[in-house]
């Protein structure tokens, strides 16, 4: 199927790994160019994939299959559809941008940093391309380790607290997902009498959709809840979002960009790719609750963003709000909603990624992110202010820029299901514009603040390299804003398949089992919270001593 039978998907997945090895071996002087070169090569490979991808054809393309653990029917199986193609290109684009953007800020242990970033890319791309649930889980966990190191080694003063919180939250969700994956595969094995294809997503999806087959109600609910927890923590949905502001605030700039740009999308991708098609009945049953949670996330994120004194925290909470539109769009189960969710995923990656880069630019010069200390940037750094303004408007949902399209489509989809929900979400868009413009107005306009004036010549305007990292993002924001059809055409196949799968589901009657499962989940959440509070008491020594070393990291 592929051009000249080149295993292009494996090349995209493992090229960064080769890069990591090369960076590890080469002398330190070549670390930066080598890392960038491999990130760019991967990017080019992913663009070739995009060019070669045929949007009209259903199913997965460029599939590669190899037996891996035959005893359990586990395969190395990768394939691409419109959604994964879009997410892979988003990942490879943001990765080279991040590596380029790290050249100056990261002066400490550069080699390890670049290796971590390249390994991170392996995991992220792998998640988007894996078609075997076991393989998917492995890539999902591989993402965790480099991100843990990136926040923990190169982060801010409270980095150890933030990174441990990030890992523990993610791990609780993903390990339960592992149990769900194994249970699903075993259910398939029991039904068909063979482990053959038990982890194969395509086979499982067929099984779930077949009129006679499908997974039992209890399995669907249990497995869906486990998948839901893993994905909801990643997205992050209210009330599983509390790791996000800490992780974002403490991560180095590029870490925040990747976190917002790609890692949060893993959750949305997981919902669309796995949770919906495999467990449609459970998805239908729980959709109302998830819609409510999404609305709370949209409102809550916006309100909390409004009162943040820290630039990065503000952008982080705006992510919670914006990602609420993704889950909202997915769980209304119609074409516009799903289209909106996917568009919002891509656009949020571009725009919020850019916003974090911009916050990083100002932090490089001021070593401070307090909004109250800044004003009058327009006079001293006009180019920076202009670019910042562009992305602020994009994030606020200005029509003509891409941020608008996704939220609009998600709202249209929601309106078809529940006009009230759509109305609430639409009102919050105003709130969103409010906190962004308020923040923008305070730091850009007015007189130069004493704090900024005190920096003297350190406060330079944005540099060409920094602009270079933002130009591709800005271009895409304009293109997708004016012509969202390009992206929609690419993902239409995925949208159709997802909507069809969800429509095939019928809500499970709420009985004792449902209540028991959900009650169990809530109880688990409470226990986890208590557990976290207990160990947090102990890890409080982490941040304290980290502060003392904080200087070394910068």
């Amino acid at each position: 199927m592929s051009v000249g039978d080149v295993p292009i998907l494996s090349i995209i997945i493992f090229l960064p790994l080769v890069g990591a090895l090369v960076v590890a071996i080469l002398p330190s002087a070549y670390t930066r160019p080598a890392a960038l070169a491999f990130a760019l090569l991967t990017w080019v490979a992913s663009l070739l994939l995009l060019l070669g991808y045929l949007p009209g054809r259903p199913g997965f393309q460029y599939e590669e299959v190899a037996s891996w653990i035959p005893l359990f029917g586990i395969q190395y199986k990768v394939g691409v559809d419109g959604l994964s193609a879009a997410m892979v290109v988003l990942t490879t684009t943001l990765t080279w941008i991040c590596i380029l953007a790290s050249f100056k800020p990261i002066q400490n242990r550069i080699k390890e940093y670049m290796i971590a970033f390249l390994v991170l890319e392996v995991g992220m791309v792998g998640v988007f391309l894996a078609l075997d649930l076991f393989l998917f889980y492995i890539f999902w966990e591989i993402v965790l380790v480099p991100m843990y190191l990136i926040i923990g080694i190169w982060g801010g003063a409270n980095r150890i607290y933030a990174t441990v919180k990030f890992v523990l939250y993610t791990l609780v969700g993903s390990l339960l997902m592992l149990v769900a994956i194994l249970a699903t595969a075993f259910a398939f094995q029991s039904a068909t009498g063979s482990w053959d294809g038990a982890f194969d997503f395509v086979r499982l999806r067929e099984f779930a959709a077949s009129p006679t087959g499908g997974f039992s109600d209890v399995l669907q609910l249990g497995a869906f809840l486990a998948f839901f927890l893993a994905f909801a923590i990643k997205v992050p949905m209210f009330p599983f979002h509390t790791w996000l502001p800490d992780a974002h605030t403490e991560a180095p700039t590029a870490g925040s960009v990747i976190l917002a740009g790609v890692l949060l999308k893993l959750g949305g991708y997981g919902f669309i790719r796995f949770a919906l098609p495999l467990f449609p009945d459970a998805a239908q049953t729980l959709a109302p609750a998830i819609i409510v949670l999404s609305l709370i996330a949209i409102i809550y994120g916006a309100i909390v963003a409004l009162v943040q004194p820290d630039l990065k925290r503000l952008v982080a909470y705006s992510s919670v709000s914006h990602m609420g539109f993704v889950t909202l769009g997915i769980f209304v189960f119609n074409e516009q909603g799903t289209q909106g969710a996917i568009l919002q995923m891509v656009n949020h990656g571009l725009i919020t990624g850019a916003l974090f880069l911009l916050v990083g630019v100002i932090y490089e010069r001021t070593h401070d992110r307090t909004i109250a200390k800044m004003s009058g940037l327009a006079g001293r750094t006009p180019v920076y202010a202009a670019i910042f303004g562009f992305f602020v408007f994009a994030s606020g949902g200005l029509p003509g820029l891409s941020g608008f399209v996704g939220e609009f489509l998600a709202l249209v989809g929601t309106f078809a299901v529940s006009p009230a929900a759509a109305a609430i979400a639409a009102l919050v868009m105003i709130l969103g514009a409010g906190y962004l413009l308020y923040m923008f107005g305070r730091i850009v306009f007015g007189e130069l603040s004493d704090f900024l004036a005190g920096l003297g010549d350190h406060l330079t305007d944005i540099e060409p390299v920094e602009i270079l990292t933002l130009v591709p993002l800005a271009t895409l924001v304009v293109i997708f804003g004016v012509q969202p059809g390009l992206l929609l055409e690419l993902v239409q196949g995925t949208v159709d398949a997802t909507v069809e799968a969800a429509a095939g589901g019928t809500a499970i009657a709420i009985g004792g089992e449902v209540i028991a499962l959900i009650g169990g989940l809530v109880l688990l959440g409470v226990l986890a919270r208590i557990g976290w509070a207990l160990v947090h008491g102990e890890s409080a020594t982490g941040p304290a001593s980290a502060t003392a070393e904080g200087g070394a990291a910068h």
Binding site: E141, V145, I160, V164, L168, L175, L176, L178, L182, F186
Partner: protein, 490 residues
């Protein structure tokens, strides 16, 4: 005794000869530790080769008291690997402290003979003999650093509780023998099947016997609430010995469980299943919770090894719940745990080459910068212990969990408890990584030079940790055969 008997027990004979050879070499050339180590490694290599050859064809010896099947040879090779790795890791720690290397190797090999005897026992008396032969050298080893008060304290606690539990275990064996009239494993299983099939419910005597046996074994595998000896014994012992104690006697005791509970007491599995489920749940939960609060890495890993006992018991419970995969998972876990845990202890031992270095968390501060290679290996072992793919620890956890999920019911809950525990465990494993990579070194002492043996052993442990995670098929086939040798369910 026939010639066939001799070939069947050839691995055991060679193992004893190996210890004897080291003993003689040490007598003739005292204090020449490289020579003693070379002798030990060569003879152990030969033993492993013979074990594999003999294991090709199942056979029995001494009228069925000793049996060689796929399980025996799998476990034997694992025991030899444990001892070989321990001997490779030890000199860097022992020599700077003027502790005798040759005697260490001899005692260790004798302990290995006991473990191998357990693995091939088809008779209750032989099982007990093997158990004692395995644990007695362990007491010696724990107190090997006799001028160190921690070492002596740990050894005394280990010895007293160990002797106590052996007595309880033996008492339980007596009950089983009294009720079934035989000490032969298959005979016991038959007699118990008949008892269960009859109208008579579980008689008080049998219940007592079962309770004593379970308690005795729970002591040996350090399952909660019979784990109290572990932290002190582990912390006090010289580090390479702690590494050995955390895997050798544990896997040996699991071999005992396989021969005794799975084979002989298999018919009673409905009775002991709930006990194992509860033991497993509280063992991993308590082990992990207490490990969270430890600041001494050896003690932390001691509690973590308690938790790993709990994960392995999940596999046993899944088997009792009717899933063959449970045994496979247990065996796979044993192998994976061996390499990752020995590797982690080896790194600690390597750091303690400089005498006076403690095993507190501070020792690891800045290790990633000071000794990059050692830091990366330690991180790999810790990630594997956490269960992060693509490492051995991850696949091992997946195998026991899949078996528990297959068994369904209460065991699904056990699987969920296991993964939540794995998440909690991540906290303390990652803490060590935090110290290695996110803190500055506490002292300016220059990096140490580690011996070739240490690096060789670490390379082997690393290779296995990665291999068992990336390409699990080969070992999966071996453990499947091994499990089939004793499983009574299809």
């Amino acid at each position: 005794m026939t010639f066939e008997d001799l070939t069947t027990i050839a691995p055991l004979i060679l193992a004893v000869l190996s210890a004897a050879a080291v003993l003689i070499v040490d007598l003739i050339w005292p204090g020449r530790s490289p020579l003693a180590i070379a002798t030990a490694l060569l003879t152990l290599g030969a033993t492993a080769a013979v074990t594999i050859v003999v294991g090709q064809s199942p056979s029995t010896a001494f009228g069925g008291a000793y049996t060689v099947d796929a399980l025996t040879s799998f476990l034997d090779v694992l025991f030899i690997a444990i001892v070989v790795l321990t001997i490779m890791f030890a000199p860097d720690y022992l020599l700077p402290r003027s502790l005798p290397v040759a005697e260490f190797a001899i005692v260790l090999i004798f302990a290995m003979c006991g473990a191998m005897l357990i693995a091939g026992s088809a008779d209750l008396l032989l099982l007990f003999l093997g158990l004692e032969l395995m644990v007695l050298p362990g007491y010696l080893l724990a107190g090997f650093h006799k001028s160190d008060s921690y070492s002596t304290e740990g050894a005394i606690k280990y010895f007293l509780l160990g002797a106590f539990s052996s007595a309880i275990f033996l008492f339980g064996l007596a009950f089983v023998w009294g009720l079934t009239g035989t000490t032969r494993v298959d005979g016991v299983a038959e007699a118990l099947s008949a008892i269960i099939a009859g109208d008579a419910p579980l008689s008080p005597g049998l219940a007592m016997g079962l309770a004593f046996l379970t308690t005795g074994v729970a002591f040996k595998i350090a399952a909660v609430p019979f784990h109290y000896w572990t932290p002190d014994a582990y912390q006090g012992s010289p580090t390479p010995i702690t590494g050995y104690l955390s895997v050798g006697p544990k896997i040996g005791a699991f071999a005992l469980i396989l021969r005794l509970f799975v084979e002989a007491l298999g018919p009673l599995s409905d009775v002991w299943l709930p006990v194992i489920v509860i033991l497993s749940a509280i063992t991993m939960t308590l082990g992990n919770l207490v490990a969270l609060t430890q600041d001494n890495v050896k003690r932390m890993l001691a509690y973590s090894s308690i938790a790993h006992t709990g994960y392995m018991l999940v596999g046993l419970a899944a088997y009792a719940g009717g899933q063959m995969d449970g045994l496979e998972g247990l065996l796979y876990y044993g192998a994976a745990y061996t390499f990752m845990n020995l590797g982690a202890f080896a790194v600690i031992a390597a750091l303690q080459k400089r005498t006076g270095v403690t095993s507190s968390l501070g020792t690891f501060a800045g290790l990633g910068r000071k000794e990059p290679l050692l830091g990366i290996l330690m991180a790999l072992f810790l990630l594997s212990l956490t269960g992060i793919p693509p490492t051995a620890g991850f696949f091992a956890k997946a195998t026991v969990i899949v078996a528990a999920v297959e068994a369904g019911g209460a065991l699904t809950v056990l699987a969920v408890i296991a993964v939540l525990n794995a998440a909690a465990a991540a906290f303390y494993y990652l803490r060590i990584i935090v110290y290695m990579y996110m803190r500055d070194p506490e002292s300016d002492a220059p990096a140490l030079r580690h011996g070739a043996l240490m690096w060789g052993g670490l390379a082997a442990a690393t290779t296995m940790t990665l291999l068992l995670g990336l390409l699990p098929s080969a070992l999966l086939e071996i453990v499947t055969d091994a499990a089939k040798a004793i499983a009574t369910i299809p």
